[in-house]
Symmetry: C2
């Protein structure tokens, strides 16, 4: 690790800090005679969740997403404690001070000095030809990546008799966002075939005849059709579609949509050139406009509405993007993709290729229960 | 294909059109007693380029990028003919009318009714620990993706004795852009290890112990340090870094940086609220500002300058992005990435992991020679 320039001492220290923080939480709970099961990431499952009255994640925001991913009960509280405040923002966790004084948090819970917060989550329906409604269960089978791809293909060809499958409700709920886009990892630019579906088949079945060096293209535009709130279908080509919750509006969605001070300044300069601004174009004005604009991208995790944004839309003769983003209650997407996925909270993915149709919406039954401590 | 909803009839028709267009070009050349070698993508190599006085690509912009990728001679003209005008924008090709009247283009060339155009290209130097300065040559070996990964690892461990390698000039020249970012395809979110380098090693060596379903995370922020024009090093976290040429300023870079009419409208509304605009905020003003702003992102392919842009910069306590984009003569990047690549023109990639340092610049010796016909 040192040879690679990695900071082994730093790694060890962060592990020590995390371990100490976890012990603090467990001790605080047991001191109150609360029964605690401490499970690591790989042992965490729905049976454990059923056993518990409440779930506490000890880690960063990623651990909180993982904790939430196995909770489907609207009345099972999930609480995050940030055990790595140096590295994680902890948006989804309790304020950082409780990491070292967890008994204080427990006292507030006992005294009712908190309120319940329901973070709305997104559900997904999948239908259409050749869909694969569950990730292949590799946990038990431990397939290699190549075997994994073949498993997907075998499953798909077996299912071809049931060409049209009715909408399947996927066994996931997105706490941050659903992202739809080309996987990119197995794009083949080498088979020069106009119809990507053909190349996809050729590529997978004749793996060896493609120059794998062309496979690592990072940027392949995603091609799909989108209908917002049951509106007209629109063909789009972009770097992907992000549909987030209020919780997720602070996450990846924010980074996709925020505008830099530098860009706002240039835009206002051009506006001034065309007609002038009443006030001088100074840093203060640019900062105010930048802050207001970027803040308008955020909304409450408890609002049962989604925010969709199209990432880097490609606008030309064929493709248009009437609205690059906006609020909605329902988003439907028809894949025309080659090798795409729907990725939930950056951690679980589903194939989403040509022929698949996804319906994306919020059902308040899927909300995640957490707490907001009084300050 | 029909079962998947793919348009087989359309595929066949586009192939027919392309084939007819290629025949037209070849016939036009042979009618002038010009010796023509017609090669398919897989047969195209540097020997063929050496044989030729000029290279004509028949396809879309992607084919032109491929044609240019084997030409390193500043005085070997490369001309693109768009044989698929329905599907390709043809930015890098001759105007579409010459596709069906190629003799007209030839006549202009004979009569000198054209000028030479030199499209500047980017060169890359790579140095640092554990670098792999060439893509593993899979063309001959036809390795599977898993074997490819292992080959990269074996090579890297063998090279550890030469820990610091002097700058290697990579055997590629970017006509559009160099993109640096996480590969994403083999990220492992499952090994909860704070130091990504450790997980990368564990992941590759203990492949089976990771749940591959977590591997398909599409979004992993790229972490690196950047120095522009020998300026101070800045740590950044983002969705990747794009460094383009004037040619590439119309390509992916444009899609990364352009601002939508919808966003300009909202920004101007906020500016108006803070101080007002002299002119009414109407569609016409918004359109003018939008057009001016987006046009400012484009520049001439012949200008020997690069344009860098940081895609979705993450701004927090640790990371900053003083300038999200700008012109430069030189960009240096130090990778702190887990499993990243440098991707040239969307087609060729180089590993770019923790310890590697890239220097990116334009040398006018690397320019690509093409023609601009008089209209």
């Amino acid at each position: 690790l040192a040879l690679k320039g990695s900071n082994y001492a730093g790694l060890l220290e962060r592990h020590r800090i995390h371990t100490k923080n976890v012990e603090h939480i467990v001790d605080s709970l047991r001191n109150e005679k609360i029964e605690v099961r401490l499970v690591k990431r790989r042992e965490y499952n729905e049976e454990t969740v059923r056993w518990a009255d409440a779930v506490i994640s000890a880690g960063g925001d990623g651990t909180m997403l993982l904790a939430a991913s196995k909770v489907f009960d609207k009345f099972k509280p999930v609480i995050g404690v940030n055990t790595d405040p140096e590295r994680s923002e902890g948006h989804l966790c309790l304020p950082v001070r409780y990491t070292h004084s967890f008994p204080e948090a427990l006292q507030k819970l006992y005294r009712g000095e908190f309120r319940w917060q329901w973070r709305q989550r997104i559900r997904l329906y999948l239908e259409g030809t050749g869909i694969n409604p569950t990730p292949v269960d590799l946990h038990e089978q431990q397939l290699s990546q190549e075997q994994h791809s073949r498993a997907h293909i075998n499953e798909r060809f077996q299912d071809q008799r049931s060409d049209i499958s009715g909408p399947h409700l996927l066994p996931v709920r997105a706490l941050n966002e659903v992202f739809i886009g080309e996987s990119l990892s197995s794009s083949c630019l080498n088979c020069y075939v106009p119809d990507k579906a053909v190349c996809s088949v050729l590529f997978r079945e004749n793996f060896k005849s493609c120059k794998p060096s062309f496979k690592f293209s990072l940027h392949r535009a995603s091609y799909y059709e989108i209908s917002v709130d049951d509106g007209p279908w629109e063909k789009q080509k972009s770097s992907g579609l992000n549909v987030c919750t209020g919780t997720g509006s602070k996450a990846w969605s924010y980074n996709i949509n925020k505008v830099a001070h530098q860009a706002i300044e240039e835009i206002l300069k051009i506006a001034k050139k065309h007609g002038g601004l009443n006030v001088p174009l100074n840093t203060e004005l640019v900062q105010k406009v930048t802050n207001d604009y970027n803040e308008s991208l955020l909304y409450s995790p408890e609002e049962p509405k989604m925010f969709f944004s199209v990432r880097e839309p490609i606008v030309n003769r064929v493709f248009s993007s009437s609205r690059q983003r906006g609020f909605s209650s329902k988003v439907c997407v028809r894949s025309r993709c080659w090798d795409a996925c729907m990725v939930v909270d950056g951690g679980t993915s589903f194939e989403f290729n040509d022929g698949a149709i996804a319906s994306i919406l919020i059902d308040t039954e899927d909300a995640l229960c957490t707490v907001l401590l009084e300050e």
